[in-house]
Subunit: 291 residues, 2 copies
């Protein structure tokens, strides 16, 4: 099948690579062209812009940073919309605003272009191994048609509802990631303060009713002082904008999530934004008088 | 072996029952005597007070609600101390103050009585099935001697450090339980508010980097409106006293845990204290204008 992939970052590169390995003809575009080199060497065709990609394929994936980036790729100069034909399917793997997603899909529908919002969870490792969780919103028939492609990218593909609901589910997912990380930081800081070996604490608590993915996977990194990402604080902070956008729209006070978000802002202010989310630990340490 | 068990509540009854089934001679006491009936029918000897239990056994377990209750059992009228002989081992399965635990152990040491703090995690089901996590503080030699007994009660027995460190580890565990429950309530409320099927959200998020034991096990209960305990809000609220006691002693601000605790107080104020911790959901709903 002729497929497009726009946005060859850490995630996009691995995901596009898996589509290529699965035998599809792949057409790619990235703003920083050099990031396309290794996929080009594996046989991907590098295009000059998003419009060129969309003009040559049946399904085009997008994986860029934020809502304005997706808007630019679709509706900007030399965007997908310029060459989009009836029947084209756009699958957005980015994490962006659920509200904007509904708008984008509506505008594309007028051109008879179908749209699935399909944000992912599982990090760089999941992208490499094709074991991502993918939360998909959009028309069920379009979803079914695209399922074999999504199964190349992930191992847990769920149709969660209408268009926008994929992003809504991701916004919920990020709420959990933020609050669980706050729990990790406070719990490890408490163990250290109280003279309990934090490694033993993480091991015991992880195995029981206090366990979380974050504690089991990122807790040991905090203890080792291993802060590179993984998943960056800047991105989690951005993603929580969508969580709070949904909450505000529904007039739902999210006290815990709001607190976690403010502390992530503190981590960004302390130049930890490009570190992994576990670097939130520095903020908790600072509150306790650390440097 | 001749064993004592003082405190035949939901947890104690199952745990003492497992010791009995393992072939030990069991001597029990409970303030409300009728709670001993079913264990007596299985062969346990019901005693008149804690002193009588301690006088007849080699190892005596305690499983009562709070710090003053443990103090009463050991040092009160007809308490363990009255009949305690050199070499007796006291194992406290209650969740109480780490600081008080160190005091109790010190006083017992003067009478040549050994003390292990051994709070558990895993709930009523874990107690019944003998699959509890048990976090043990105290002398390593005493721990090794008691390990075969603890292995009757749990499947994940860890010596976490000196006396008091079992309770310290439990205090950390409860921090995670509280913050994870807050995440569950906010995440499910957000999904509902945003029109996303909360059951699908829980399933997807549980399987990935946003997953926790609480979400997988208690999330579905929130969605079903199933609020009976499991583990009661009153008890989690009490346990967080010990978490905050440690934090205060170490001058560690725990903003997230403090927030979760205040909201649990809100649940208690709304007469949800004897419901399961998942009933915290009512507080989040109320904040959003629900009844």
């Amino acid at each position: 099948m002729k497929l497009g992939y726009i946005g060859i970052g850490i995630m996009g590169k691995s995901m596009a690579g898996n589509l290529l390995k699965a035998g599809h003809d792949l057409f790619i575009f990235n703003r920083t062209a050099s990031k396309c080199d290794s996929l080009a060497a594996q046989g991907a065709v590098v295009c000059n812009n998003s419009a060129e990609v969309a003009g040559r394929v049946e399904v085009v994936f997008i994986n860029v940073t934020d809502t304005p980036d997706v808007e630019e790729v679709i509706f900007g100069a030399a965007g997908i919309i310029e060459s989009a034909r009836s029947g084209l399917i756009v699958i957005d793997n980015s994490t962006i605003s659920p509200r904007a997603t509904v708008d984008f899909a509506q505008k594309l529908k007028e051109k008879k272009v179908a749209y699935l919002d399909a944000p992912v969870s599982g990090g760089d490792v999941g992208a490499q191994q094709g074991t991502l969780a993918i939360m998909v919103g959009g028309d069920k028939e379009v979803f079914n048609k695209c399922l074999p492609l999504l199964e190349v990218l992930g191992s847990n593909i769920v149709h969660v509802g209408d268009v926008g609901m994929g992003q809504t589910c991701k916004a919920c997912n990020q709420l959990f990631c933020a609050l669980h990380m706050l729990a990790c930081c406070e719990g490890i800081a408490l163990a250290k303060t109280a003279g309990l070996d934090p490694g033993i604490m993480v091991k015991v608590v992880s195995s029981g009713a206090g366990g979380s993915w974050a504690l089991a996977n990122l807790g040991p990194k905090i203890i080792k002082g291993d802060f590179p990402p993984g998943f960056m604080i800047d991105l989690l902070s951005k993603d929580l904008n969508f969580t709070m956008e949904l909450a505000q729209k529904g007039r739902l006070p999210l006290l815990g999530t709001a607190l976690a978000r403010e502390l992530l802002h503190g981590a960004q202010a302390a130049d930890q934004g490009r570190q992994g989310t576990q670097a939130l630990y520095h903020v908790i340490e600072k509150l306790a008088g650390g440097k």
